[in-house]
Structures are given as C-alpha cells and as structure tokens.
Symmetry: none
Subunit: 206 residues, 2 copies
C-alpha cells in the first residue's frame, strides 16, 4: 500500500520513511489531487505549516476525493483536533510519532476506523456529553412563568447589562427595570442579579 505525505516542510521525513519506505511526498492537496489515486488511499497531512483554516480546506478537498486523511500536528491541540476531525480527517496524531505508531495508525484508518490519542478521545467524550443537553439539574425551571417584559430583562441580565442599560434598551425607566427584576427574583426563587445571570447562562436556548 502506498503512503502519501503532504507537507510543505517535511519536518519528520526521516521518521516517516522508517515507517513507510516507499512514501510519496507532495506539498499540497492540490498537487496530490492532480495525480490519479485510489479511493480509500491513505493521505498523511502535515498541518504544521498550514493555518487551521487552510488545513481544514486541504482536508475537505482530499476527503471529497475519497482519500482517508490523517492529520499530523507538531503541536497537538484539542480545539484544532476537533476542527480537523469534523472536517473529515480520520486520524490525528503527533508529527513526531515513532514509526511503530504511524504504522498502527495507518492500519486502523485503512481498516475504516478512526485513530486519535486516548486523551483526545476522553476530551471528545467529555465535551460531547456536556453538550448533549440531557443535563437536567442545572437548568433553572420557571422561566416560562415570566412575562414577556420580565423575560427580556432576564435575557439582558444574561448579557451582563446593568439597570441603566436595560432601561435605555427597553425604553423604560430604571425604576421599571427594578420592578421587573423584583418580580423575576420572586418567580424564580433567586436572590439577586448574579444568580439570575447564572441561571440565564444555563438556559438551553438563549
């Protein structure tokens, strides 16, 4: 099986050659795509020299050409990994990985799987689990008890506004804002605007 490495720099070329003696080097997805290639072809993309967005673009191009892309990063970063994977990469690993690891990654991805560091999987799971808003407790119930005006005030508090700003935006007096706030505190069982702000921040919708 052919191993294609796309890199503008060739950072860890020696290491890669240990793992894949017959590797093919290219400097960009564009150059590579000009060649004929087989669907499912492994494609190692060294993203170190690309910006995040440029890397995402390269990946998108390769994936739409049915290549299996593995991102190689010199400085692994969680957020970067999320983005590259969602752009279609099937693997994410350190550019300086040892040959044995590269081979293992290649095997997994060739088999149709994903490969990424264990720590990254854990972060992925943690973030996803939190995002799945099944999370019941934290959400303060009772916002549906608020009247239209009260709700508007509550949202403003959720943006960190003070009474004067809210009054200006809603075109009412500061006194009125205070009245709405008092009503909100009463209905939601809160003590002050700080607690309201936190309650609003936990609102699923916003």
């Amino acid at each position: 099986m052919q191993a294609v490495f796309i890199t503008p720099t060739g950072v860890a070329l020696a290491r890669w050659q240990l793992a894949f003696p017959k590797l093919v080097l290219q400097t960009s997805a564009r150059a590579y795509l000009a060649m004929a290639h087989h669907p499912g072809q492994l494609c190692w993309l060294d993203i170190s020299a690309f910006g995040r967005e440029a890397a995402q673009e390269e990946i998108t191009k390769l994936v739409s050409a049915e290549a299996r892309v593995i991102a190689l990063s010199a400085v692994p970063d969680e957020s970067e990994a999320f983005h590259l994977l969602s752009a279609g990469a099937r693997g994410y690993c350190h550019a300086e990985a040892v040959p044995e690891q590269l081979l293992e990654v290649g095997k997994v991805v060739t088999a149709g799987g994903y490969w990424m560091p264990v720590g990254l999987v854990q972060r992925l799971v943690a973030v996803a689990a939190r995002a799945v808003v099944d999370t019941p407790q934290p959400t303060v119930e009772g916002f549906d008890l608020l009247t239209r005006r009260e709700y508007e005030v509550a949202l403003a508090i959720g943006k960190g506004a003070n009474n004067k700003e809210i009054a200006t935006n809603l075109e009412v007096s500061e006194r009125t804002v205070k009245a709405h706030l008092t009503a909100i505190f009463e209905k939601l069982g809160l003590r002050d605007r700080v607690q309201l702000a936190l309650a609003v921040s936990r609102l699923p919708v916003h």
Copy 2:
C-alpha cells in the same frame, strides 16, 4: 487473558463464548468486585437490562476498581453512548456483535485504547466540534492572570455568592473580598460581578 461478562440476562451468551471460550459470568458489578481481579482487567458490561443511570453507576464502580469496561448495548443509542463513555467506559458496541468484532474490540481496549463504532465517533466529533464553535469569543481569557486567592473569589462569584458569603468562606474580611474583586475586574477587563459570573460560567473547566 480472562474475559469477564457482567449481565443479568445473558442475551448473547453463545456469541460471547465463541469469542471468549473461557469467559466468566457475573450478574452485577457488585458481585464481580467481590472477587479478586487484576487492574486493567477487561470487563464487558451488558447494559440492556440496566437503566441508563444504573449502568453508569456500575461503570463508575468498575472503573474505580481499575477495570477496563466495555459497554454492550442491544439497542445502541448515541446519547446513551455519550453518557456511558463519559462515565468511564472504554468501549461501546452492539451486544450482538460477531465474535471477530468482539475480539478486535477486546484487543484495542486491552492495549489502552477506546473502541466504538465509526458512526459514533463521527457523531462525537460533530457534537464536540459544534459545542466548541458555539462557544467562541465569550470565554474570557486571562483567568490564568489571576492569583490563587483571586481565582477562588472568581469561582465563588460563579456560584452566585455575595461578598459576605465569600468573606466567610475564605475567612477574610469583606473589604478583602472587594479588593480581590477589583483586581479581578481590572485583569479580566470586566465591569462588575455579573459579568464575572457570566465569564466564569463559560469557563471550560469549572
């Protein structure tokens, strides 16, 4: 290597035995934990007969005993998978999986990795990526500029505490709390405690 299956029903027992002829059967994590076992021991948990919460509990128990847990579900479900994985499971697969697949899963998890269906990985990535994107700017950078004490105060604000409560908890005067707050506002470029509360609520860690 020993394969332990925890299941109240034994749904796919025949299949499991094909993959692991010498498997050990137990009906609950409690029963299993009563036995001696080796750290890193594989532990297949058939969650079909458990509720989601009960399954999470079982997993938590096993994981705290340093077992590697693989959840087997008769009716795979994305949200369920997220929760079980975040509870510490290292694998999630169909209870009716063929023996070859079970062996593959076992191998990966034994090696310290995670195993889950490719589709699940994609959902995980998609959800996580969206969660990260949905929370772009708002996260106030600079919390690392805070001193230990200031950070403690910031966290307290994130819980909706007022100055008196913070003072009591930290065993300092209210004046000191105010001083810390002033420093925090200055460092983070915030105006008041409401904005701080919101900034803290958007903190990835808590």
